[in-house]
Amino acid sequence: MAVVHFDAVQKVYPNGFEAVKPASFYIEDGEFVVLVGPSGCGKSTMLRMIAGLEEISNGVLQIGDRVVNDIDPADRDIAMVFQNYALYPHMSVRNNIGYGLKNRAVPRDVIAAKVDEAAKMLNLSDYLDRKPSQLSGGQRQRVAMGRAIVRDPALFLFDEPLSNLDAKLRNQMRIEIKALQRRLGVTSVYVTHDQVEAMTMADRIIVMNGGVIEQIGTPSEIYQSPASTFVASFMGAPPMNLLEVTRADTGLRLADQILPLDLPDTGAELILGIRPEDIIPDPNGPFSIMVDIVEELGAHRLLHGRLGDQSVTVHVPKDYTVAEGVLRFAMPIEVLSFFDAASGQRVSR
């Protein structure tokens, strides 16, 4: 169990590419932190620096009370679950799980007991004598998990551990991993590009883009008050509606309506952000959109349409009858987010 402390940690690859810009943050003891972002944004690089598989170019990384910059992966007291599981193909499941303990001079009977316990926890007891090639994808995933938990490390690292599984198994394993982490209370860093995984598993989410940390916050903070237009459009499916607004004497002009809002006038162009479910259909509402497409999703419906010349998505409950054509709606002022159109950064109200 450990805290992790990043102090201006930067990664520049030998070819000169700066994959992670200097990043500083703090992971609490027992916290489950999810690193999320689009492909190539530097998530794996960040994780691999924690693991010691990638050298830290600049800055200081601390796990627990040790600076680990120059410490070998084996001595960092971490365990990692890889995307393709990285099981040892020539070893049985039992030896795969026990390998890390054997090399740490743990007595044989202790290893056997720990492996059995982990196998029971992960429903692997019947497969201990098989080779990884004789297991299904989900079982291999469990072996990789088992290898991590028997080590009883200070820190779990996961690099997209579920991305090779089918959707159903992924949902199931997601819940199991989270429950396991809760039970063991081990600090965890989990990399994914799946924002559903991020929202459901994380205590805190770190959103990255192009080597930069865009925002760090709890899932609801990230969802309710995204720090930038990037976070707003990356997190949430469908994403937040981002609409251009112009300043008017009495507030902000959106299409043909004025929002009575008093934002400090910095002279910057603004973008209004609103989640699809925060748009309330209301026959007497001030705004109207032209609905082009109704998307039926069972539990709810998504209406895709245009507000003036800007596209908008509205989320309505399944019992709400809709038709294509004009839909009038209202927007509660307090749920609106505003961003600087030029920088994309959130503007406080």
């Binding site: 084996a74 990285a86 040892y88 193909p89 020539h90 390998y99 890390g100 090399n103 290898r147």
Partner: protein, 293 residues
Amino acid sequence: MKRALFSNIWLPVALLLPQLVIIAVFFYWPAGYAVQSSFYLQDPFGFGSTFVGAGNYQSLFRNNEYLKIANFTLWFTVIVTFFSLAIALILAVKADRVIRGAKTYRTLLMWVYAVAPPVAGFIAVIMFNQSWGPLTEFFALFGYRFQVGVNFNDTAFAMILTSIWKQVPVNFIFFLSGLQSIPRSVREAALIDNRSASGRFWTVTFPLLAPTGFFLLIINITYALFDTFGIVDTVVKGEPGNNPMTLVYKVYVDGFRGNDLGGSSAQSVVLMALVLALTFVQFRLVERRIHYT
């Protein structure tokens, strides 16, 4: 694999025929002939032959010189195979660490492979030339007079060294590509699980190289037994005398120099049996048992 169905039996036969003819003419026929003549005693001047049954084989295994050569061949094969594999493995591991996938280096090392065995032998002869060979001079530095073709041990050393030198590149290439086909994440997992580099090598890398290793083992044994003929021939300069030689070379010496076709044929049959055994080991034991995926 897709199975093609032929309605007419003659088409596939016709398609296979050239291959079958080549195998028959160049392999089965001479092999059959060797087996047959191994039971006869040939007149050295070509005047007929007498059936002697297993006589040739009996005299072979009672012949001290033959047993001595067999013994030498055994050691020669063990040493050449071991060092070709070991040196290549060490080089491959070092190279793999430095140059993941650098092609030029591999190509350069591969050149030695393209050297024909007699040429390799010739290079050895030059290197060990009595009056100005660089290696002879090197040994002279230590006060040792190196005499290839005269001193049994020196000649054996030159033969072994050349044979190893010639085989290392092949093994290197196979080992290197074997190493590079080990998934990066598996090595990284080992890096987290095991702090000792040599421990990681022996428990993860080496077992994962085993399929390559066993394949190469068979290839190398075959090489040391048979393909070194050209090297042996050049180094002993066709003058067997007291010089070391391998069993294959002995077949040639007895058959073509000594005109003992019967005895020479019996020796070939023994070697054929050896090859069959090796092939059997390769297909039955190695290919079946050492597979992980």
